[in-house]
């Protein structure tokens, strides 16, 4: 914090902000408009390869490719020549990997950490890179304009493919106000909405559900590989019934009591089955909600008080991106651990 407030940093920042404000006043740039908030990702390209993308390529798909490309290129470039005494970049990468590995090892133990680590670290790196990419310039602010008419198919304006948040704003805002007045969206001038070319990959529910499914499927895989078929008795638990009919020397009353416990165990197994689905839901909505809410927050704050007020929230969003990536990773590890530890025979 003290470094942040030192004149070396503070003066250029203030000069930049003052410059932006002066430019805004002198040239009367049409201000910042409230971004169009859309939960679904907007398609930006018409590109239907073998019927894979009938609705076109969405902006979140583009940026998830970008995220993957950045990660692959960065890691390949850093590990191209690995040295005994690491250089700057290799040192940084080793520090990240080692810190995370120690975290996983502390939770899962030496044996399992080696198997858990690749999958959870990949998830961590993907999520954090995707979320932080969404905070860089151009993300969410540069894209194609289209007429905003509810219930209408998107109509492309070919000549204005590269306008940012502050486009036909005056016209648009006026028209919107006008439209609201007359309670119709086509009245007055034309209303525009921006379909950003890039949008953070984790603000798409499809991405987060995919990650969550990967995590939950890997949970089953690790459970099966640790406990064999015995893992399935967690879900289809008939051990109580077997015990009720085969246990010796518990008498008639004991047998009925054991049967009752068996029924309870059986239903607990079914509940476990549903909790696996619940995991997918909670994983995906947590990540999506956090990152998406962050983007909306930044947009709304920039709209309310331009330039200045969104700066602290950028810091907050950086932190949220890190914490959500860490949470996704550590929750996966926690579920993996639960799945790999035997819990059949010990007393409840």
């Amino acid at each position: 914090m003290s470094k942040l407030l030192s004149p070396k940093v503070l003066v250029p920042t203030l000069v930049l902000i003052a410059g932006l404000v002066i430019i805004n006043v002198v040239f009367t740039v049409p201000g910042v408009v409230l971004p169009e908030i859309s939960i679904a990702a907007e398609p930006v390209f018409e590109f239907d390869l073998f019927g894979f993308w009938p609705d076109g390529i969405t902006n979140t798909l583009l940026s998830s490719w970008l995220t993957t490309a950045i990660l692959v290129v960065a890691v390949l470039a850093i590990t191209r020549k690995v040295e005994e005494i690491p250089g700057r970049w290799q040192g940084a990468l080793e520090m990240i990997i080692e810190g995370m590995y120690n975290l996983v090892e502390g939770a899962a133990g030496r044996k399992w950490a080696r198997r858990f680590f690749p999958i959870v670290m990949t998830i961590f790196l993907f999520v954090i890179t995707a979320s932080w990419l969404g905070l860089t310039p151009l993300f969410g602010s540069w894209g194609a304009l289209h007429h905003a008419e509810h219930g209408q198919p998107v109509e492309w304006l070919n000549d204005s493919h590269s306008v940012g948040l502050w486009v036909p704003a005056e016209e648009g805002v006026e028209a919107e106000a006008h439209a609201a007045e007359e309670d119709t969206h086509t009245a007055g001038g034309e209303v525009y909405a921006l379909a950003p070319m890039f949008r953070a990959a984790t603000t798409d529910l499809n991405v987060t559900i995919a990650l969550a499914i990967v995590s939950v499927v890997m949970t089953q895989y690790f459970g099966l590989s640790a406990l064999g078929l015995g893992y399935l008795t967690k879900f289809i638990n008939v051990g109580g019934f077997v015990k009720a009919f085969t246990e010796k020397g518990i008498g008639c009353v004991g047998r009925i009591a054991a049967f009752g416990m068996g029924v309870i165990d059986f239903f607990i197994g079914i509940v476990e089955l549903f909790s696996e689905i619940g995991k997918v839901v909670s994983f995906s909505f947590r990540l999506f909600g956090n990152i998406f809410a962050g983007e909306v927050l930044l947009g709304v704050m920039a709209f309310l008080i331009p330039y200045l007020i969104s700066l602290p929230f950028y810091g907050l969003e950086l932190f949220v991106g890190f914490v959500q990536a860490l949470v996704f990773m550590m929750l996966s590890v926690a579920f993996f651990i639960v799945a790999t530890t035997s819990h059949g025979e010990e007393g409840h």
């Binding site: 908030i37 939960i39 947590r286 999506f288 956090n290 949470v327 550590m330 929750l331 926690a334």
Partner: protein, 75 residues
């Protein structure tokens, strides 16, 4: 009341009421963590991961409310 009015009200109420409980929970988790750190500062490493996990679980409830509010408002 018109549908649009109801929508605005409903989304505001969804996030407003839905944020109360997670806020209380987050406060409780934070205060307990600070208490634990005060009693035993060396344990900060062991506290960190469970702290983050429980924060995430609690916060997820608030996020559900937010998602519901957004869906009411925009879908």
């Amino acid at each position: 009341m018109e549908v649009e009015t109801m929508r605005l009200l409903a989304s505001a109420l969804a996030i407003g009421i839905g944020a109360i409980a997670p806020a209380l929970g987050l406060g409780m988790i934070g205060s307990k963590a600070m208490e634990a750190l005060g009693r035993n500062p060396e344990a900060s490493d062991q506290i960190f991961v469970p702290l983050i996990l429980s924060l995430a679980f609690t916060e997820a409830i608030g996020i559900y409310a937010l998602v519901v509010a957004l869906i009411i408002k925009f879908v």
